[in-house]
Structure formats: structure tokens, C-alpha cells
Amino acid sequence: MPRAYYINGETMIKVKGRSDSEIGSLTDLGLCSDSISVRIESDRKPIIVDAYGTKPPESQFFGAMAAVSHTLVHFDPVILNVCLRESWGSSPALGAMGHAGSLMGNGLARFGPGGVFGNHFIGLNIISALGAPVWRFLNSYLADNPIEWPLGTEKSLVRCDWQAVPYSIDPWNNGNGSYGVQIWDQTADT
């Protein structure tokens, strides 16, 4: 493939979640005021050998996850609220907490129904209008400080921070462990 400037173009964020939730089908979340930031985070452990002093001659890969940040300017607040509730695991209503210690995936396949005990991970789809490759983060949630929502006379620019993790139904994965577990790919949900 030849070199070129990489221009993603105007981008719509779409989400899809638990099949018995309000985002059971692929739904527009919204447009952003500026670029969407995708940061891949991976962990390694060095193998230290005395013969090499303090620098490792070899290292081991120990998994990865992704962090996606964006600022919504033209968005559906109802859908954002649904994403927030799903990200809290078993939240029964907007602003209400679920059980402390709730699992997100609950051992179910993507979008698995089950209400409070369904799969609460969200498929985060970043779709370009110019045909640039899609970014799909298969198992995501609004993380840590999930949103920052300014309220005033000026339009609200809502900052969102997502994390995408290598979820699998069975971590043993028939002996494969984390091998082959997808964090992101370039095929949009349908």
C-alpha cells in the first residue's frame, strides 16, 4: 500500500450493547467537537539476566487494553445515559448504583441478554464518513471518570473516556488463554 496522509474524516460514534437494553441494535451516540483519541496500552515484563546488567535481553508480553477518549458536541443524551448505566454493570436506573462487585460480562457472549445479569460490555464503533477503516472496540465501558458534562448557556461539550478490555467468556479459552482474544478490529457491528 502506498504512503499517504492519513485522514479519518468526520466520524460518527455508534454503540451496541446488551440485546435486551435500549442499545440492543447499533445506535448513534454522536459526533465529536474534535478528534477522537485512541490509545493502546500493553504490559510487558522484562527478563533480567545478570550477564546483561540491568537491561533486559528478552521481555514477555502481558496483555493489552485500549483507552478511547472523545468530546461529544452533537449527541443523543438518552443513549449516553444508557451507556453510563450499562458501564455500571447492574445499574437499575439513571444515577443509581448496582451491586458492588457486579461483573460486566457475566460469562455471556457479546450482547448476551439477561437484564441485570446480562453482558454489559458495549461495542464502541468509530465510523468514518470518508471510508477510512472502522475502529470497533468489542468490549468497552465508560471508565473511571466516565463523563464530564458542563451545564450552562454554552453548548455542552461532554468528555467521555472509554476502556476496551480483552473479555472472553471463559478465560481458559480451551487452553489458548488470551491468545486470539480480540480487543479491537476493523469490522463495524451491524
Binding site: 528478552e58 514477555q60 462487585g101 481458559w172 487452553g175 489458548n176 488463554g177
Partner: protein
């Protein structure tokens, strides 16, 4: 064989015991083996060798003239994070003398009773540590949960269950002519690297199957 970094990979812990405590019809494969679970960190295997000093007057009072080998046991420590609690209950019941969980059997009840492994009345549990990336497996034929056998945190966070196993070189009482009924240590197995699920605790190549039966 060349040197390399030794990376075992995440091991799956399997167990097998007598059919009273581990019903074969509920097992995870046709050899009566049950998946116990996955650990949150590395599993630690610590053998403990026993040697006895033989003193001779000519060597003085402290330095031995000879050493006697007095067998060994082995401690296996693990912290389970993704596990089958009913299989764990069966392991606990076996360690408590083989009754129905959580009932304790009477004090002084022998765990092996001189019987072959996996026979009703023998409550040792075989522990298998099977690597997902094909590193050599570990088999401890005769184990039991020991000491403070488990630490089971109960709360909103996932339970990380700490287990301590002890493996001993158990052999059933001899049925060889001339030594009938004797407990003989020579040739007994403390650990090996096969997946033999035969009950005689002798690696005779029987009942062996490959790692595909575990994964």
C-alpha cells in the same frame, strides 16, 4: 537439550479422586478428571527432601560420615480466581476423610487406608497442572489440602481462594509375594510429568492419554 527461559504458561488445575467424592459421571472427561480452576498468579511447587545424618565417632559430633535418604514430600500453593466451587468442596471433603462436604470424618481415619488410588476408601486427590502452551505437565498422584488448607475471602470483590496442598509418595500396601500387606517406599512417585490417570501410582504406560483430553 538447549538452555532457554522456562515459561510454563497459565496452568489449568485438574483433580481426580475416588468415585464416592468425585462421581465419574460428573467429570469433565472420560478419565474421571475434574477441572478445579485457574490461578490468579503463578502456582508454587516446593518439594521438601528429608535426609538423616549418620554420625560416626571418627567424624566427630557434628559432621556426618554418611547421609540417609528419607523420602520427600511436596507443597503446592495456589490462589484460585476462576474455579468450580463444587469441585473445590469435593477436594475439601476428601481432605477431611472422605465424607460428604462439609462433614468431618472421625479423628484418626487414614486417607489412603492402604488402598490403590481412586478406589472407594482412598481419599487422596491427584493434582494435575496442565499448561495451555504445551509445557510439560505436572502430576502429583497423592495429595490433600493441608495445614490452613484454604483462605476464602467473602465480599463484593472476586474471591481469590488460597489453597495449600501437600503431596506425599503414597503407595498402596504391597501385594507382592513375600511382602504382602507391607508399606514399601521404594519406587513410589511423589510427582512426575505424565498425565497417567491409572490408579496404581506406577508409571507403567497404562491409561495414558494426551493433553488434548484436558483442554
Amino acid at each position: 537439550m538447549t538452555r532457554s527461559y522456562y515459561i510454563n504458561g497459565a496452568p489449568m488445575v485438574y483433580v481426580k479422586g475416588n468415585p464416592d467424592t468425585f462421581p465419574p459421571e460428573l467429570a469433565d472427561n472420560q478419565n474421571g478428571v475434574f477441572q478445579l480452576g485457574l490461578a490468579s498468579e503463578s502456582i508454587k511447587v516446593t518439594p521438601r527432601f528429608s535426609h538423616f545424618d549418620v554420625l560416626a565417632d571418627d567424624y566427630g559430633p557434628e559432621v556426618p560420615a554418611e547421609i540417609l535418604w528419607n523420602l520427600a514430600d511436596c507443597y503446592i500453593q495456589m490462589t484460585l480466581v476462576h474455579f468450580d466451587y463444587q469441585v473445590l468442596d469435593a477436594c475439601i471433603a476428601a481432605a477431611m476423610g472422605g465424607g460428604t462436604y462439609p462433614i468431618l470424618m472421625g479423628a484418626g481415619k487414614p486417607l489412603g487406608a492402604g488402598l490403590p488410588l481412586y478406589q472407594s476408601g482412598n481419599n487422596y486427590v491427584t493434582l494435575f497442572l496442565v499448561s495451555g502452551i504445551g509445557s510439560r505437565p505436572w502430576r502429583f498422584p497423592a495429595c490433600y489440602l493441608t495445614g490452613r488448607p484454604l483462605e476464602y475471602p467473602l465480599g463484593t470483590e472476586k474471591s481469590l481462594v488460597g489453597l495449600q496442598w501437600r503431596a506425599i509418595p503414597y503407595s498402596p500396601l504391597s501385594d507382592e509375594p513375600g511382602t504382602e500387606g507391607e508399606a514399601l517406599s521404594n519406587g513410589s512417585i511423589l510427582w512426575d510429568h505424565t498425565l497417567d490417570t491409572g490408579g496404581d501410582n506406577v508409571d507403567d504406560g497404562g491409561s495414558e492419554f494426551d493433553e488434548a483430553d484436558f483442554v
